[in-house]
């Protein structure tokens, strides 16, 4: 761990009964970089995401986070209020299913503005204006600001979730299969959007995906997991073009070439 990593995990272990989900996992994330965790179902990648973001506790190991003031905090030793506050401000979490992180009965503007209001925003006009600005950033027509998400397509819902997450300018965003369940063309557009936003805003991200193409497009570095073990890690292009570990080679070779 160097002096400027944003997030560092050491020695994470977690078993569900007899099944190993995390086996001695280490991970580092630097500011502004995107780290992809790839693997098949059961590899432990989603568990790792949950442990890194404090949503699930490891049985052993530690996750350190460096706050904007430069202080290190043990994520799993934080008090619940502090962790929740972190998730509402400096951190973001994009769920695979946008419905898990949106209020379907609240307008798009209300969804995006909620975090601002939670942080003390009390000017309706300004909150609405900021919500509109963010809708535009995620390429949702500003005229939809007063529409309910029930009327949105899957791709739009995902973009709305992203707007809702980014409105407080988080430095670190966790993403769980953000393009899962979407049509290929919709996925492509969404990936482009994410790539642009992340680069423009200097956001660091931990991205879980089973799709190597997503990793290649978005991530600077990639970690490959198999049955709870990190089998390979490195720069994305290097790992995907020249895989060293047999499992990585298998993953890479089994991707259908378009």
């Amino acid at each position: 761990m160097t002096d400027d990593t944003l997030l560092s995990a050491r020695g994470l272990n977690l078993r569900f009964g007899a099944i190993p989900a995390l086996v001695d996992v280490d991970a580092d994330l630097w500011p502004g970089e995107v780290l992809a965790i790839v693997g098949e179902s059961g590899s432990g990648k989603t568990t790792l995401l949950n442990v890194l973001s404090g949503r699930m506790a490891p049985q052993s190991g530690v996750v350190w986070y460096r706050d904007p003031q430069g202080h290190l905090a043990d994520v799993h030793a934080m008090a619940a209020p502090a962790l929740r506050a972190l998730h509402r401000s400096d951190w973001g979490f994009v769920h695979q299913n946008p419905r898990d992180n949106l209020r379907m009965g609240v307008t798009a503007g209300g969804n995006v503005g909620e975090r601002l209001m939670a942080q003390g925003g009390r000017h309706y006009g300004r909150i609405r204006a900021e919500a509109i600005a963010w809708l535009e950033q995620v390429e949702i027509d500003a005229a939809r600001v007063d529409d309910l998400p029930r009327t949105f397509s899957g791709g739009m819902l995902q973009r709305l979730q992203i707007a809702r997450t980014l409105v407080t300018h988080p430095r670190l965003v966790f993403m769980d299969e953000p393009t899962g369940g979407l049509d290929v063309s919709v996925q492509a557009r969404l990936l482009d959007l994410i790539r642009g936003l992340v680069a423009r805003l200097g956001i660091a991200a931990v991205l879980v995906t089973h799709d190597l193409a997503v990793a290649r497009l978005l991530a600077h570095r990639v970690m490959v997991m198999q049955r709870g073990v990190v089998v390979e890690t490195g720069l994305t292009d290097q790992v995907l073009d020249d895989p060293q570990h047999p499992y990585t080679q298998l993953l890479v070779s089994s991707v259908l070439q378009a």
Partner: protein, 285 residues
């Protein structure tokens, strides 16, 4: 009513309720769970208010009970009789003479004093209940002061209607920390709670919660800077006493749209009429 303790409840129970009240006063606006007892009046009909009143009532007190601002509505009559039977205390319809006022859905028009206690009957103590049905979750939200959900609701109202549509049980922030339900008083009455000299106690029997606002506490109705809280009242004068600043009841006088507006606070209206004020409709008292 032989065989019953003063004001019906046994002393242990009153002590338990007073302990809850002390905690409530120590943390303004915060809901304190209490072991609400089965009372001879149904849940939802004021058992919480009755238990609070029974716990603070003494033989020298003078009790006023109002419902919808009136002393003579049936449930106010029923509750006043209950205390007359079980406590034998003096009762009154005059706000100025009362030391304890138990109320449902209104705050008296006459400003209250430091030596008075106002006891509110509360059906639903949880201000977030319509937005979040789980009490376990709302408890967390209060603990973490996470009230974004309520602000979202106000935002949505402004988006849909141009202004906040809540007209009664309008949520307030107490002492800058706890979101509180003022009970279903009209929004018109909310400003009276702010810096009130009297002690304000709230009892919810069925939901088993007690809360309080100590005297001279800041109570602010939620709003946005550019959509400030405003009160609503029927834009008329009382037909009986001429008051133009009191909350009015709309009385239907015939089936051709005939309407008469009269003060909801019957004591306020009678006092004004006794002092010589006459409205368009009324005869001098």
């Amino acid at each position: 009513m032989s065989g019953y303790n003063f004001a019906y409840l046994d002393e242990q129970t009153k002590r338990m309720i007073r302990r809850a009240l002390l905690k409530a006063v120590a943390i303004p606006g915060h809901q304190i769970p209490f072991g609400s007892r089965e009372m001879p009046l149904p849940y939802g009909w004021g058992t919480g208010g009755i238990q609070v009143t029974a716990a603070v009532l003494g033989p020298d007190d003078t009790l006023k009970v109002i419902d919808q601002g009136a002393d003579d509505t049936t449930n106010a009559v029923s509750i006043r009789r209950f205390f007359a039977r079980t406590a034998g205390v003096a009762t009154t319809t005059h706000t100025a003479e009362a030391t304890i006022i138990q109320t449902r859905h209104r705050i008296p028009e006459l400003a209250l004093r430091e030596d008075q206690i106002l006891v509110y009957q509360v059906p639903q103590p949880e201000p977030l209940s319509k937005l979040e049905s789980s009490r376990a979750e709302t408890k967390r939200m209060h603990g973490l002061a996470e009230y974004g959900l309520m602000h979202v609701k106000l935002y949505e109202d402004i988006t849909r209607f141009g202004h906040v549509s809540i007209s009664y049980d309008y949520p307030v922030m107490v002492a800058g920390r706890y979101l509180m339900s003022p009970s279903p008083i009209p929004a018109f009455d909310n400003p009276k709670m702010d810096m009130m000299p009297a002690l304000q106690l709230f009892g919810a029997g069925r939901e088993q919660r007690i809360y309080a606002i100590p005297p001279y506490t800041r109570v602010v109705s939620l709003d946005f800077d550019d959509h400030p809280f405003r009160t609503t009242r029927a834009p008329h004068a009382c037909g009986l006493c001429g008051a133009s600043d009191s909350y009015l009841d709309e009385v239907v006088t015939d089936d051709r749209g005939g309407r008469l507006f009269v003060c909801s606070d019957t004591d306020h209206c009678e006092t004004r009429r006794a002092a010589g004020h006459v409205g368009a409709e009324g005869v001098a008292a």
